[in-house]
Subunit: 399 residues, 2 copies
């Protein structure tokens, strides 16, 4: 009962991680990429060992997962010797249907499929991963863990858009929020760091990865979050615009002859840092800014200012903030971004200590000055661990 | 040289006001409505006199203005006896072309026309008002005063959307901001109230009327504002949604077969308070909430929460806030909204004093407790006065 296999199935990749829950550590992990395309490769890793690489192509998710199982066979551990408590699956959109993890059965599969219009790029791919994994592990409970579930506690004032009723009730138009699994993990860890019960802490959680979001946590629960009906709203991201004037699609339809779909695609895939700096990876944006590229410098300013505005907005929502918590790639590793995002916020009790902020230990840590009114924390996120914990909690609770 | 006629020409109405600049008071004002439609009526007012009403219909703006001049002839004052220093015209969109008021000539008219794609409902109507007024007052200087001009000081980090370059440079996609004339007036008055130079004050200005916006003023200049490329972005308004997930048009195109234009029209005209409460007028929304309608209660919460979030966001942008200033219909008269919007913000030094807040004197006043760290002010706006002052400053500066 001590292991969980976590599967994160995207449209063209399967990421996986086998976790030893008792020892609290990963046993093996990897990714099969370019599924359904030419080329592709599977990389399987174990602690302290060289990566085991298997060439593609992988015709579909079934072929991808078969390669994963082959890799386990060849490079270990032997899955037949592992007692799997559960297979935990990441599912992006749970709509207002899934407010907690769900034991997968055919009805759950249908429900996830019905939510596909809200996440057309994600839910079908997540579902395909569940489908093939159930075939390979028919006797293990499969648990779906939803990115939206942590935000099911948003109050109506936070999740309601001021748009016509026919859209709200007829088409499920509301704020759902994403990155919930990461937020749940980070909230628990931050509470522990502060020495408080989860139910007691008010946090602003800044998940800054390729996708980026800010979440206001009150008493351990999400009460506002920057991503909305889809993961497009809110902060500036690698290739996503975040907030814009909602008239933009209508304007570009009129003036440039674009459809709403054209604009949506460009806002999701050709915007954000990529549009301003010519690169969507923050490290590359930094390099370009240092090389004197004005677009990259502007991109950093726009990015940091947007984060700062959400910190202020959620401070106002929460009234009392016990900590601001940075996580994910940019949040964990980009010290300058943290400093820029919080610059000038002394009146809110917020600041970073230059030395602490610069030290990238990879550990949970405070980067605010000693004795700061509002601690600023860096908490490396671990969504796979959170999925496994939630899967075990569900399965254990039933057993 | 002591009078200015201010004209605010909309698509179906002409509002006007004749101001005595030396005496600092209106001499006459009124509105011709339903221009180009059936019915319609002109109401002309003078202080202390009964309104003078002339029936329509008014075939076009030319007929509307002719009726205005007839009303002056019939009910006074006799315009031939008034030395008009200028006719001041409200123009909604000045793009990045007009950063201050402009003396109208044919080139300015062309430029305003070229900006019409950015404000298709407003600029053509404003222009039509200028055209007919120039015919009627050929020897008086006409001055165009732009709603966007006060926000020409937005730094690039505030006015840049993270969207493709081809949209930004090819189609003028950026944040412009609106309500600038009101903000300029209110900023000047708030500085005077605080006993400070305009160049010294940091303010959050909340213009809450039928349209609504928040503006961050640093050193007397606009450094961020909630309305964007169009007046749709930001706060919840009478019939406008304000901020939403930018994927909504694409989603509704896919799922409901709507065009970007359909969605844009609904977001501008069928959203906001109207969509949630069934009424776009705040007084009616309050009545419905008091009558126990849940949609109206939710509308008030969504509205107030959005204002609160912008107060927090702009607090973070400014770092130091000298006052929060409420203006326009809701801002000036809705004490409960002010209290709700600022509730829980004690950590930011913000609160209203229940008694002061409840007293609606119609005057400039503080509604925060005595000695508050950040005063909360109510400043009745006067856009016509501001237009007249700016027109005289321009004309005087040239003579
Ligand atoms: N040392 C670093 N400095 C700045 N940015 C970094 C650093 N390390 C990683 N990042 C950025 O983190 C982002 C990816 O975040 P991550 O959390 O790994 O992504 P995802 O959202 O896909 O899980 C990239 O923009 C990357 O450039
Ligand atoms: N006493 C009041 N209480 C609440 N709302 C009010 C009150 N008086 C006016 N309003 C609201 O102000 C709004 C109109 O604001 P106003 O500034 O006059 O509009 P505009 O933006 O068209 O200039 C309406 O929603 C109206 O209900």
């Amino acid at each position: 009962m001590s292991h969980v296999l976590v599967v994160n199935s995207g449209s063209s990749s399967i990421k996986y991680r086998l976790l030893d829950m008792a020892a609290e550590r990963p046993v093996a992990w990897g990714i099969a990429d370019r599924i359904g395309e030419d080329g592709g490769e599977l990389t399987h890793r174990r602690p302290g060992a060289d990566p085991h690489v298997r060439p593609g192509p992988f015709a579909d998710h079934e072929a991808g997962l078969a390669a994963v199982l082959d890799a386990f066979g060849a490079a270990g551990p032997d899955l037949s010797g592992v007692a799997l408590a559960a297979v935990g699956h990441r599912v992006v959109h749970g709509g207002d249907r899934f407010v907690r993890p769900a034991l997968v059965d055919d009805a759950v599969m249908r429900a996830v499929e019905e939510l596909a219009p809200l996440a057309p790029l994600h839910n079908p791919a997540n579902l395909e991963g569940i489908r093939v994994a159930r075939k390979s592990f028919p006797d293990v409970p499969h648990v779906a863990v939803f990115d939206t579930a942590f935000h099911s506690t948003l109050p109506p004032a936070a999740h309601t858009y001021a748009v016509p009723e026919r859209w709200r009730t007829g088409y499920g138009v509301r704020r759902y929020g994403f990155h919930g699994t990461s937020c749940a993990y980070v909230t628990r860890r931050a509470a522990a760091w502060l020495g408080r019960q989860v139910e007691e802490v008010n946090l602003v959680v800044l998940h800054l990865g390729n996708g980026a979001s800010a979440t206001a946590v009150a008493g351990g629960r999400s009460v506002d979050t920057s991503m909305g009906m889809t993961p497009l709203e809110g902060l500036v991201m690698g290739t996503r615009s975040g907030d814009i004037d909602p008239s933009l699609p209508g304007y570009l339809a009129r003036e440039a002859g674009l459809t709403a779909g054209d604009v949506d695609a460009a806002l999701n895939r050709e915007s954000g840092l990529l549009a301003l700096a010519g690169a969507n990876d923050m490290r590359e944006v930094r390099r370009r800014a240092e090389a004197g590229e004005p677009g990259a410098a502007l991109a950093l300013e726009v990015y940091a200012r947007r984060v700062r505005k959400y910190v202020g907005a959620y401070y106002a929502v929460l009234g009392r903030v016990d900590a601001v918590v940075f996580t994910a790639g940019v949040g964990e590793h980009d010290a300058r971004l943290r400093a820029e995002a919080l610059s000038g916020l002394e009146a809110l009790g917020l600041a970073v200590d230059p030395e602490r902020n610069a030290a990238d230990s990879g550990e949970e840590r405070a980067v605010s000055p000693a004795g700061a009114r509002v601690p600023v924390l860096v908490v490396p996120t671990d969504e796979e661990w959170e999925i496994a914990v939630e899967a075990v909690a569900l399965v254990g609770g039933r057993g």
